[in-house]
């Protein structure tokens, strides 16, 4: 029987009633890592985190220490923006960390700010996290009071202001640059890169954007060393991660496990398997953006790199949605498409228009009004939204939302292409309709030559 490896969730599990209070946290050794860090040089901390192999827990999985080292030399002020927007459907790990162990997060932020030599950090917290905002706000006030944040932190001479900013509720504010726009008071629209945030981020100053879980991990790395952290995990996916398992499982919830565990162990051993003893239909491995997996992939390890290179999907935000074999994949695909169509920020043409188009077609298909050519149609225009229709996708948009929109449709093609075509044909026959226009070709292009 496999078990969780609790590092950042250990304390909050042990003290379910008061883990967010400063007294309880201090009793557990909170801010010890900060004390140790303030005795190190910023460069040493960056080196330690780089050694740990810690990778961003928001979804992209970029090396945290490496990201910090991209800050241009001698350019100040710098900012740290902590991404607590957690908008990826079915992801609820940051939610828990903010509500139940805010001091761990604050400690990570102070250490990180010291490491990157910044005096001003922002926590961009999802607007819907009312309780989280209350507890984190309280925790910040306590941390200020006890001298863990503010001027001359623990007599080190280091100053840091932390601003808690509550988001106004949209998915794309969780994108790195969308978050920065939102933080500045603009519409949360992603920005073109370069310049990358590390060079020109919030208020045109160098900015590091890190996820809540990433920040919460930093104190443990400082306390116990990068080598220790790197000793866990598999390949380049070191340490532990929190996976939010949801859907048709017996015990949905957050599970912190050592990377390298298999999907089967996570879903069946920890989450108790499919609810009601039904069979597995399919599962989404890394949030709604990721292409789906099925039964045959269950024994693959939770390894960010091999999931991408071999399974052509991603661990993303660590949200695993499990569907039993009675669920209609078309209906799920439509519902996810509806989410993306609603959340597309409207900046890039392919996503703004393509996501809405996809939703309209999938709605028809899932509700008995599909046409035999519809699946090819969405794959046809979808190829202009996620070129290659694979993972990682090609990009015609600024951010990943655009191609992610196509993940459900790509999954339909991967596992149920013939089945869906047959179903659409049956639906059309049942309606007794002549298909709107039979035999539409993909968009290859009846390109009119330029009038030269």
């Amino acid at each position: 029987m496999v078990e969780e490896t609790r590092i950042i969730t250990k304390f909050l599990q042990e003290r379910p009633d008061d883990s967010w209070t400063i007294d309880a946290a201090l009793g557990n050794g909170a801010y010890d890592g900060l004390r140790k860090a303030l005795g190190m040089t910023p460069a040493d901390i960056v080196a330690e985190v780089t050694t740990s192999g810690l990778r961003g827990r928001g979804g992209a999985g970029f090396g945290t220490g490496q990201k910090w080292s991209f800050l241009p030399k001698e350019v100040f002020p710098r900012y740290l923006a902590v991404n607590g927007d957690e908008g990826e459907p079915s992801t609820f790990k940051d939610h828990m960390l903010v509500e139940r162990d805010p001091h761990q997060l604050i400690e990570g932020i102070v250490i990180t700010s010291y490491a990157i030599q910044c005096h001003h950090a922002f926590i961009y917290l999802r607007g819907e996290f009312a309780l989280g905002a209350e507890r984190l706000g309280q925790a910040l006030a306590e941390a200020y009071e006890r001298g863990f944040v503010g001027t001359n932190i623990l007599d080190s001479g280091f100053d840091l202001e932390i601003v808690l900013h509550r988001g106004a509720g949209c998915y794309i504010a969780g994108d790195e640059t969308g978050l920065l726009s939102s933080l500045e008071g603009e519409r949360a629209m992603p920005r073109i890169k370069p310049p990358f945030p590390a060079v020109q981020g919030v208020y045109a100053a160098p900015t590091i954007v890190n996820n809540v879980e990433t920040m919460s991990t930093v104190p443990h790395i400082i306390n116990r060393g990068g080598e220790w952290y790197a000793s866990m995990g598999i390949n380049r996916s070191t340490g532990t991660r929190i996976f939010s398992v949801s859907g048709n499982v017996e015990r949905p919830g957050n599970y912190e496990v050592e990377l390298g565990m298999t999907f089967r162990e996570l879903i069946y051993d920890l989450a108790g398997g499919i609810k009601g003893g039904k069979g597995l239909g399919f599962f989404i491995p890394g949030g709604a953006s990721s292409p789906w997996l099925i039964e045959e992939h269950l024994d693959a390890p939770l390894d960010m790199d091999s999931v991408q290179s071999e399974l052509k999907t991603m661990l993303g935000s660590g949200a695993i949605m499990v569907y039993d074999d009675t669920v209609d994949p078309l209906l799920v695909a439509w519902r996810i498409a509806k989410f993306f169509a609603h959340e597309s920020c409207g900046k890039c043409t392919p996503c703004r228009e393509g996501a809405g188009w996809l939703e309209k077609v999938l709605y028809r298909m899932a509700h008995g009004y599909g046409r035999p050519e519809d699946l090819d149609l969405i794959l046809g225009f979808g190829n202009n939204l996620a070129p290659g229709l694979s993972w990682p996708p090609g990009m015609t948009t600024i951010c990943q939302l655009g191609p992610s929109t196509m993940s459900p449709a790509v999954s339909l093609r991967n596992y149920w292409y013939d089945e869906i075509k047959e179903r659409m044909t049956r639906d059309a026959e049942a309606r007794g309709e002549i298909p709107v226009r039979a035999g539409t070709e993909p968009a290859a292009g009846i390109a009119v030559e330029a009038a030269v």
């Binding site: 043409t349 703004r352 202009n384 968009a443």
Partner: protein, 929 residues
Amino acid sequence: MSTDAVPMSQWPSEQRYVIPVAPGPELVTLTIDGKQVQARRGELLIKVAQEHGTYIPRFCWHERMKPVGMCRMCLVEVEGMRGMQISCATPIADGMVVNTQSDNVKATQDGVLEFLLINHPLDCPVCDRGGECPLQDQTLAFGPGESRFVEEKRHFAKPIPISDLVLLDRERCIQCGRCTRFAAEIAGDPLIDFGERGASTQVITYPDEPFTSYFSGNTVQICPVGALTASSYRFRARPWDLQTVETSCQTCAVGCRGALQSTSNRIVRLLGVDSEPVNQGWLCDKGRYGYEWVHSDERVRAPMVRKNGELVEVSWPEALDVAADGLRAALDAKGPSSIAILGGARGTNEDAYVWARLAKGVLGTDNVDAQLADGLPAEVVLGLPGATIADLDTARAVVLVAPDLREELPILHLRVRRAAVDLGVPVIEIAPRASGLTRDVTAVLRHAPGEAGAMAEQFARALAGDGTASGSGSIEKAVSALDGRDGDIVVVLGRQSLAESSESVVQAAAALAALPDVKFLSALRRGNVRGAIDLGLTPGFLPGRVTLDTAREHYVDAWGSVPARPGLDAAGVLTAAAAGSIDTVVLLGADPEEDFPDRIRMRAGLDAVGFTIAIGAFAADASAGADVFLPTTVWGEKVGSMTNLEGRVMRQARLVTPEGLTMDDWRIAQELAARLGTDFGFDTVEDVQNEIARVAPAHAGVDAELILRARDGAVLPIADFPDEITFQQVLGVTTGRSWEPIKPGVAADESHLASLGTGVVESSGTGSDTTIKPGLVSADAPEDAAASDAAVESAADLLAARPPLHRWDRAATAPAPAPPDAYSLRLVAARTLYDAGRIVSSSPSLAALATGFALVVHPSDLGRIGVSAEGDDVRVTSARGTITVPVLADAATAPGTAFMPFAQRGPVGPNDLIDITAPVTELRVETTR
């Protein structure tokens, strides 16, 4: 406790990383579709490709705005870079290999266009943009040609007005963000933005706040579809029917280059032309929509003579005879100095010159003034070292001693704003009241009305390092902003308020002119006021920036005679008229009733005049009592040139045939001169231009050929501004597409009319036609540097052989008189963009926008006055008189001062309160209860 390798105390705190705005000078070589090209490192790929003949399709990118990368139409492949790159945000680098034609690129272009069209209504047959639409054109050139979309399209109520002048069709909108970015980045009026998300994304205004920008019309011009339409142009024309000429707007003295368009002999549209030194493609709404007055029913279309107390239509010979007889009678009875000519700032340079010659060379009077006591003394304007508008971009600092530029010279306002916001030029505002630029300037030196001179002196002393200067915080801030910066200080100099004499501003000019490396831009407002002053329609001067005294012999040679003594300015003329020494007045397109700031003096003067000749387009209030009315052609109906506030001579083109029996002003002057015994011998405008070039010192070399051929005109004297002249080798016409920067062409004769919409470059002279891809802006005609250089060289020789140009002797400036003790409030009277002048009141689109008349005070002064609510009437008393007006509160007006918009319609106005000879206007304000 820290063992930091870099001690925390040494972490720099404020060292902002700035992305370089300008590309470096270094040339790099890259390959675009197999062709090697050279361009400056850091230039944007989309621009470099276009300049070398490869048009990359685009919707959101606009050369004058920062790239945003929204539309995804310009994706291309760059070897070595993962995925496709948006060429609008990709700076070029050495060795870059770009493919704009690959299958991937083509597929992406197909895809983006298919996406853009799925929700587009495709109502092209009834769309204003149809025929000149980038979405149409690029679909033709780059699109799939077929849609696979069978769902319901998105629907919105449409069109919705987003301002008084602009309507929005949200179904046509392709969400490129050009309009929203223009409003925020260029205009500084972020009153439109996107609302909603995804396919519902739409341009919105704030719930209670329309898009009330003075620059809103530019969004219509740069919209790549028909989503934004102008209320004045909607459904009026098809683009392929339009006739176009390139001309200069004459609404204010910036002289923005524009493409003026007509159909069926009616002007229907003015588009901004992207003239780098002048307007960079933008127009203000007053200029853009102010063409409507040209066809106003109120125009006078036939000459009139007063018979039995009534003005009746007569033939031109009869009217001219009556006018000439009146002038001759005045000469015979009381001599030349009994005649005065007011106005002339709304005509062309040629009009001004011929009228100056009539006045000074034939009639012999120097009582001539193109300004109506609302400008600056000509000796100051003509005698200060001149700056160009483009000098603002690279100035060490810009100092504003001027009216609110947004209200009076809007495109100059944009240029100063750009210098301040985008180019990091310190801008220092010396003003009695907040302006449209206040929030963007580096330092505000606020002073009481009438005390600009004292404030400028303090600033100048502090800048010169005089420790005794009383250094207020804002002066210190202003001075420190100049630290470590090189270049010239550019002073924008104009009348801050019409409620005070010009002496304080003149004193400010003297103080600032004493600083090293200072140049001046005169912020005079009226259309061709600079041209009129330059060409002698001002007392004490003769055409070409020379004084009567220094150029007397030169002009006696040229003209035969000149006045014996300097004459009177407008205020002097009206005072003399009241005293009886002037009794014949020619109103040359002037309306003292509206424009002269001192109504009592004006009325006393005009009422005493025995014989009035009114020359103009409208029977204005003042000219209604004229004995003779001679109707003139106007802008758009006549050929000529104008001189803008930097002294740039630019060609005016004719587009429509003149209304009725109107005549060019200069021809009227010539006809009158002939009747008085002098034949000027001009057959055409070009004859006048050539005489000006031959005679007027500052205009040496600016002959008809130069005016025709120099793209962007020429700055006077051309020997001092050789780089401002660009000759092109062929005569072309303005080309370009209305939604992209329209490149200035050489203004051809109006027989070379071309439609902007076709994208066809027509060249005369070479006989070659170049047809270009839809959407492609023409490459500029090659420059003819040899011709430009030759023109400048010969002009320098001519200039040296002529009387010296006037230089202002600032040492002779008397200190401004001390303002009297305060009553309660001191008045600032200034114009707003939309006033009751002819351009606004006779243009239906603009008429309703007039500001309206009120007394504006600081909120804290409301209570002091004893007013309970805004809008209540108050009784306002100055030394001159009492009027009753509603009172409004606005924090832009400093406590202790009051603001009144000038020239608003109504029976009373600030001109009832102002004594133009007094240094300031003090007001006592009481409630009417």
